[in-house]
């Protein structure tokens, strides 16, 4: 009897989302610590120093829990998706290089955190922080390179389907990956992967900064502490700019890649639920700049390889819709805070009048939109390629392009036998562990 993948997929998704929430928060908080420290070094304003120090400690707490949690995700991979490990040899370069990133983080981050005010040259301390942050971003860069390969098979990577040849390894491993030469492994970082990687990294900063902004707006409304406004001024307008770059530039390039590498995923994301070729004016305009291009509809491919239909909602409503809301709110409130009454002079006095309302809405809607857009993006990306990994498309002379990849069902551990209650318990724990970091941060902040 085939194994029901759903509970195990939900378990893995829960673990990965929980780990991603920690990784994302780390990238955002360490970046913010550096921005604040830079501001301190330029202005010598102690408020920036205190906040920079606080965010460096917060990032260290998040890193500690996140690093240990990464072990959970990793063991989960070996235990549940064991047959992915056989393929890891082919995509191991980013994992290998990520280890150095790990070392940067684990060694340099504590130095950065414990040497506040102890290194006389502030710029040297800032430089140590940059190296610690580099570790985090380099780590994300490499993991996202692997995730990119799951959605878009890198050039030169070939799938060997052993079962098609009546073969296996010990009746368990049925798929392998090969490169025609070892140096082709460097294609893990091909141009398509770069777009995927920077889209992911930017998403991490946007999500975490939107969450921090929400907390700061909430507090600022209540105590009108000018230090909070200083921090918000550093975050809101950049948040709006980053959201615009994410949607209009990187998002566009990402869409073009989906169009060429996985047209079935594109059909699911854009909600093109028809069979055969049909014009979709909006997608046509975004992709080609014309209104009359035809696209293969979702039902043009067999049901066995079609992704779930909820990805349309995850993409259009959660990611795009809430991403736009986030960008608009961050821009409006950011302008309000940055320019205040000066807005009247340039004809935007109405925006200043909206400030109280904007604050009330933004304290909840900015973090909510950021988180929902982030989750929507992750869901759309990873579920949009389901039920395959290492996806690629091959044009055919008639009919839609052929979508190829390794079925997710082939990488499950066939020996695994876990009752649903056990999976449910693990899901609860997996989702609860990030709260250890939240608790740690709460203890630290409340002690200050």
């Amino acid at each position: 009897m085939p194994i029901d993948l759903t509970p195990l997929r939900v378990l893995s998704a829960s673990g990965i989302i929980a780990h991603m929430s920690l990784a994302t928060s780390f990238l955002g908080t360490i970046a913010l610590a550096l921005v604040l420290e830079y501001k301190y070094l330029r202005t010598k304003d102690d408020a920036y120093f205190q906040k920079a120090r606080m965010f460096s400690v917060i990032s260290t707490i998040i890193f500690g829990v996140g690093a240990a949690y990464g072990t959970f995700v990793e063991f989960g991979l070996v235990t549940v998706w064991s047959n992915f490990v056989a393929m890891m040899g082919a995509v191991a370069l980013p994992f290998y290089l990520e280890l150095f990133a790990f070392l940067f983080e684990v060694v340099v981050l504590p130095i950065y955190t414990v040497t506040w005010g102890k290194i006389k040259n502030g710029w040297l301390h800032f430089f140590i922080g940059v190296i610690a942050a580099f570790g985090g971003y380099w780590s994300a860069y490499n993991i996202l390179a692997v995730m990119a390969s799951l959605s878009m098979r890198p050039p030169g990577l070939q799938i060997v389907n052993l079962s098609q040849q009546g073969q296996s390894i010990s009746k368990a491993i049925t798929y392998l990956l090969v490169w025609s030469s070892p140096t082709q492994m460097l294609n893990m970082y091909w141009s398509g992967a770069q777009v995927f990687i920077f889209h992911g990294i930017l998403a991490a900063v946007i999500v975490s900064w939107s969450l921090i902004s929400g907390v700061y707006i909430y507090k600022y409304i209540r105590d009108r502490d000018p230090v909070r406004k200083k921090v918000l001024n550093l975050m809101l307008l950049p948040l709006a700019v980053l959201t615009a770059i994410q949607g209009l530039v990187l998002g566009h390039f990402q869409g073009e890649l989906v169009l060429s590498d996985d047209p079935l995923k594109l059909a699911a994301l854009e909600g093109m639920y028809w069979s055969g070729l049909k014009v979709d004016p909006l997608t046509s305009f975004v992709a080609y700049g014309t209104f009359n291009h035809q696209f293969w509809g979702y039902y043009s491919w067999p049901a066995s390889i079609r992704p779930p239909t909820f990805v349309t909602f995850a993409y259009l409503v959660m990611m795009v819709g809430f991403g736009i809301v986030l960008g608009i709110l961050a821009l409006a409130l950011g302008l309000d805070y940055a320019f205040g009454e000066n807005l009247k002079r340039i004809g935007f006095g109405w925006l200043f009048k909206l400030q109280p309302w904007l604050e009330k809405v933004s304290q909840f809607l900015i973090p909510f939109s950021g988180i929902i857009a982030g989750i929507g993006g992750a869901l759309a990306t990873e579920s949009g390629r389901f039920p395959l990994i290492f996806v690629s498309s091959v044009p055919t002379t008639s009919g839609p392009p052929e979508i190829t990849g390794v079925p997710v069902s082939a990488i499950i551990n066939v020996a695994l036998n876990m009752p649903v209650w056990e999976v449910a318990l693990l899901i609860i724990v997996a989702l609860a562990i990030p709260f250890v970091a939240v608790y740690g941060i709460w203890v630290y902040v409340s002690r200050r």
Binding site: F63, V65, A67, A68, Y69, G70, T71, F72, E74, F75, G76, V78, T79, S82, N83, V85, A86, M88, G89, A90, A92, L93, F95, Y96, E98, L99, F100, F102, L103, V106, V107, V108, P110, I111, V114, T115, L162, G166, Q167, S168, I169, S170, K171, I173, L176, V178, W179, P182, T183, M185, N413, A415, L416, L426, V429, I433, V436, Y439, G440, V443
Partner: protein, 413 residues
């Protein structure tokens, strides 16, 4: 050309050599602190609570770093020997699953809780929490040492020819029989006693380095030397039993460690079981260093000399790392050393060619180079490896500085 076996062995040894001393102290502290707390509470002696606080600070600083190096070990295993790790994940999944539950799901939040509830709960309740945590953390080596024992002697394994398998056979494991591995319990007992002895020595070392004549430092040295002596002796006993079982059951390892083929190995099979590295000299150096360590420890026990206390630290790390490295490298050329009896059975039942196919498949070079492109890439671009080695050395030095800074910083607060 860099030999794939050397790349795999070198990288894995490095990760283990950093990981083990860190997690040994974590394990040791988790077992020692509840007793210190209980005795201190019972006697109402503040020296014990001061000592416990210092040890808990170290625990919090080092646990995550040790965990990170555990992750590095797994990434190396999966990245350098993917098929081996894949099959290990399938056939020994209960072992990995238990380690996840004990190591991550229980231990991470409870270590935080244990640290935070210090001085907030009654000493009895807090000590009970510490003991439960120690039991949970001890499940991690209880599981992973099975994998080590398995690679030295794959108990409970069945091998059947399968022409459809690209390695020529199918592998299955009876997990219950795997736990009956004769190497397993001595190895686990040796690990636990090593963890406690090593922690005891680190207590002596740490307090000797930063000695300021404080009462809790004197107490730490006094407790540390007793623990080190008792568990160091037990470590010697259990390791001797383990080595005996290795000699009896793992021909390649025995040959590598003791320098000559074991007496039961038929001469016809010597070519199959010949080790890649002859480590007998390193083994005798390690034994000599361990004996020297023991003597220094005994002298320290009697004289309490600060210089001797400082010497104990690096010597114990060297003994621990040498022992683990020898244990790891002695497997080569095999990732999983085939038992002699199984080899003979395979020859008798399926013929010499099949037995040789199985033996070849279990070798590190087959498991790494034929299907692993990372090792091939390193062979093509050796600077990748050399750069890695330089960076690893650099980070090891930084790591020591970080641990020192974290402790010094916390002590000042």
């Amino acid at each position: 050309m860099v030999a794939s076996t050397s790349v795999v062995a070198g990288l894995l040894s490095w990760a283990f050599d950093v990981h083990l001393p860190l997690v040994y102290t974590v394990l040791g502290i988790l077992w020692i602190t509840p007793f210190i707390e209980y005795i201190g509470g019972k006697r109402m002696d503040s020296r014990y609570s001061d000592l416990e606080k210092v040890m808990l600070n170290y625990l919090i600083a080092v646990y995550a770093i040790g965990g990170v190096f555990g992750t590095i070990v797994t990434v190396f295993l999966a990245g350098l020997m993917p098929v081996f790790t894949n099959l290990a994940g399938i056939i020994l999944w209960p072992v990995w699953a238990t380690a996840i539950v004990a190591g991550v799901i229980i231990t991470i939040p409870v270590i935080g809780m244990y640290y935070r509830t210090y001085n907030r709960w009654t000493y009895k309740n807090h000590a009970i929490l510490g003991l439960l945590l120690a039991v949970s953390a001890s499940l991690i080596p209880l599981m992973f040492r099975l994998v080590f024992a398995y690679t030295a002697f794959p108990a409970g394994t069945s091998i059947t020819p399968d022409p459809s398998s690209i390695i020529g056979f199918d592998l299955s494991v009876n997990v219950f029989k795997a736990f009956m591995n004769p190497l397993y319990l001595p190895l686990y007992a040796s690990t636990m006693s090593a963890a406690l002895a090593f922690t005891g020595i680190m207590m002596i070392f740490g307090f000797s380095v930063r000695y300021k004549g404080l009462p809790h430092q004197d107490l730490g040295i006094s407790v540390g030397k007793r623990i080190a002596l008792v568990f160091g002796t037990l470590y010697g006993i259990f390791t001797s039993i383990y080595l005996y079982e290795v000699y009896e059951n793992s021909a390649t390892m025995a040959w590598s460690i003791f320098g000559s083929p074991p007496s039961y190995l038929p001469s016809a099979l010597q070519a199959v079981f010949k080790p890649t590295y002859l480590l007998n000299e390193a083994f005798y150096v390690t034994i000599s260093m361990a004996l020297l360590l023991f003597v220094v420890l005994v002298v320290f026990y009697l004289k309490n000399n600060r210089t001797l206390g400082i010497i104990l630290g690096p010597v114990s790390i060297a003994v621990l790392d040498l022992a683990e490295t020898i244990d790891l490298l002695a497997h080569a050329p095999y990732a999983v050393v085939p038992p002699v009896s199984v080899a003979e059975n395979l020859i008798n039942t399926y013929g010499v060619q099949f037995a040789l196919t199985v033996a070849k498949t279990l070798q590190v070079s087959t498991l790494s180079s034929t299907l692993d492109f990372l090792v091939q890439l390193i062979n093509k671009l050796p600077p990748l490896l050399y750069m890695s080695l330089i960076l690893f050395a650099f980070f090891n030095v930084l790591l020591i500085i970080v641990i020192y800074l974290a402790l010094a910083w916390r002590e000042e607060r």
